[in-house]
Amino acid sequence: MSQFLWLIPGTPMLGALIIALLGGLLQRRHLAIMATCAAAIAFLVVLLTWLAGAATSQPLQQTLYTWIAVGDWNPTIGFILDRLALIMVSVVSGVGLLIHIYSISFMAEDSDQRRYYFFLNLFLAGMLILVLADNLLLLYLGWELVGLCSFALIGFWYHEPMRASAGRKAFITTRIGDMSLALGIFLLYSQFNDLSLSYLLANAAAQWEAGSQLAILTALLILGGAIGKSAQLPLQVWLPDAMAGPSPVSALIHAATMVTAGVYLIARTYPLFELAPHVQWSVAAIGAITIIYGASAALAQNDFKRILAYSTISQVGYMFLALGCGAYALALFHLVTHAFFKSLLFLAAGTVIHSSGNEHNIHNLGRLGNHSPLVRWSFLIGAASLAGFPLITAGFYSKEAILTATWSAPAGPLLWVFAAFGVLLTAVYIFRVYFLVFQGSQSSASMPSVSGSMTWPLLILALFSLIGGFVEFPEGWPAPHLWSTWLEDEFKSVVLPPLAIAYSLQFITSLLPLIGIVLAFVLVRRKQIGHSLPIIVFLRRGWGFDALYQTMLIQPYFSLARFLKNTDTLLVEGTLQKLTHACLIFATACRSGVEHGVLDKSINGLLAGLRFGYARLSATQNGLLTRYALMISAGAVFLLSYWLW
């Protein structure tokens, strides 16, 4: 089986190549089908690896060839499929395939499908390379590929300056994180002289003692990369704006896959984080704060997709919280369920927005009324799963597991309070949307139908949003714990609180979503949210992070550029000219005033001298190539003679 591993990232890459090179020969519709086929083959190969027993066997490995061979450094194009990678590959290729299918209808009207499908396929290839890579260099290649595709797809409708600038913002913001990751990789290479993941993770503990400075620095740098990609505080500003892209793109890249790359990265390099306990705890703290940040900001938005974007920030925060508490398996569990329900929500939102003529405001969408029951029900299922509606939704199981695991971490109760408050807020904001948009909806005759290929992804994702959680029941229940048993070889097990505490925590977390839903219902009824509180504006602007960055970073940068531009003019032209001019005025004044020969002459002499110097200096910039060459060689001769001296 392992010799077919390259097909997983290979087929989308091939699809992207064919679209780029031969796309002009194909018809629009065929382009879409071809791209979907490429994604389907990748998914099929993943399914085959499951059938071939990849889930139970040893990790599959395939080394295609030596990528670069310089001296004793030979990074390879090599893939490894262990259980962690298997989870990621299944999610990425599965959700990716569904989104491709959905896109066939969604993008049918667009005139630039070739570019769209090229980047979509390339993204899939990049993401699969990222999760399958067996060394950090290849991982970084995938990392940059997905960043590039994300940029290109956010600004897909680049004719509108707002969307194009959203793409740039995402690219530049994530670049900070990417640079941090690159520095981390450089540091690891300088210390270990090898970038292979298995070697690094096996030897890190032997070479570095826990809490040593290098370990902390490396963990911090990797964390920086993860924060940028996963839109955690303080690099989260790009994600809400990233909603300028097409809805399927938001669902695939900015909800299900790319933003979880940071989670994957930390889970993959967790031995490095174990060596730096403080950094690991700060992962949890960042996650906890981001949960509250995202959820509270989502509460105040009026743009449908921005709510979901803030919700994504908040949900990825749960994954970071779990990572920071050492519950890696549970973070992945939430990653999977989140991929299902958040894609579902995005696709449902995309359908609603699409059929209502690109209306994004939830109040207006509610007034427009008629939405098809399929969309309504799938959104309800997604919302319930996101809120963690007890017992029947996948989101409940994954979130509940994370909250229980949080309790026994350092400062656990504090983190738990943050996370639990996040659960409450989540239920309020998502059901506020549901009540505002769908409650007034009645089944009228003019109900827009959902076209064929949009239906199936919604149905499949809705199904998984419900049953996806049954692989891991809460602690202390007489039901299977398939997920954590399956992953117990990969990660160390989590310290769980005593059963009595666990039960009471579970009780509270099941109660919170219900309270939240009731609260949302009451608030929507009273039309309270979004109108009265002064804090709403603060929350709607995402805690003012954008304004802060604008004043702290962007404005000074522009001022500096302007200053430098002005200095050039001032120094080169201004000084000499002004000096001459002042002397001219002075001389005229003297001449007209007291006709002293000596004074007159000396002033005139000065003036002439200045004019002479001005003319000479100005003549150096005469645009003659020969003159410039002469100066360069004169300078070289001078330097050489100085050196020879």
Partner: protein, 107 residues
């Protein structure tokens, strides 16, 4: 056997001659030829030194020098042609668009 010194003297001579061509000729093509002569002077230095130390690195350096020259010349020749098409001149005296426009009498 040729002493290293002699090769280096020839290389330096070629380099200086190339520089002189650049400085004295006015035709753009001639200037590019002068550049070639200078490059070859540098190449001769590398080869002679490499042979002296009995090391292939000198030749490798020269090969890279050739690559760089080829890349430079391909673009430069097209720029010469464009300048000819655009301004109808081949002499650099006429190409003074970049000169300082505050030349002459101050206002």
């Amino acid at each position: 056997m040729i002493p290293l010194t002699h090769s280096l003297i020839i290389a330096a001579l070629l380099f200086s001659l190339g520089l002189l061509i650049i400085l004295l000729r006015r035709e753009l093509l001639f200037i590019l030829m002068g550049l070639e002569v200078m490059f070859n002077g540098a190449a001769l230095t590398a080869v002679a030194a490499g042979q002296y130390w009995n090391n292939a690195d000198g030749q490798v350096l020269t090969i890279f020098l050739m690559v760089v020259t080829a890349a430079e010349l391909a673009v430069a020749l097209i720029l010469v042609w464009l300048a000819y098409e655009h301004f109808k001149v081949t002499q650099i005296d006429m190409l003074t668009q970049l000169k300082d426009d505050t030349r002459g009498e101050p206002p």
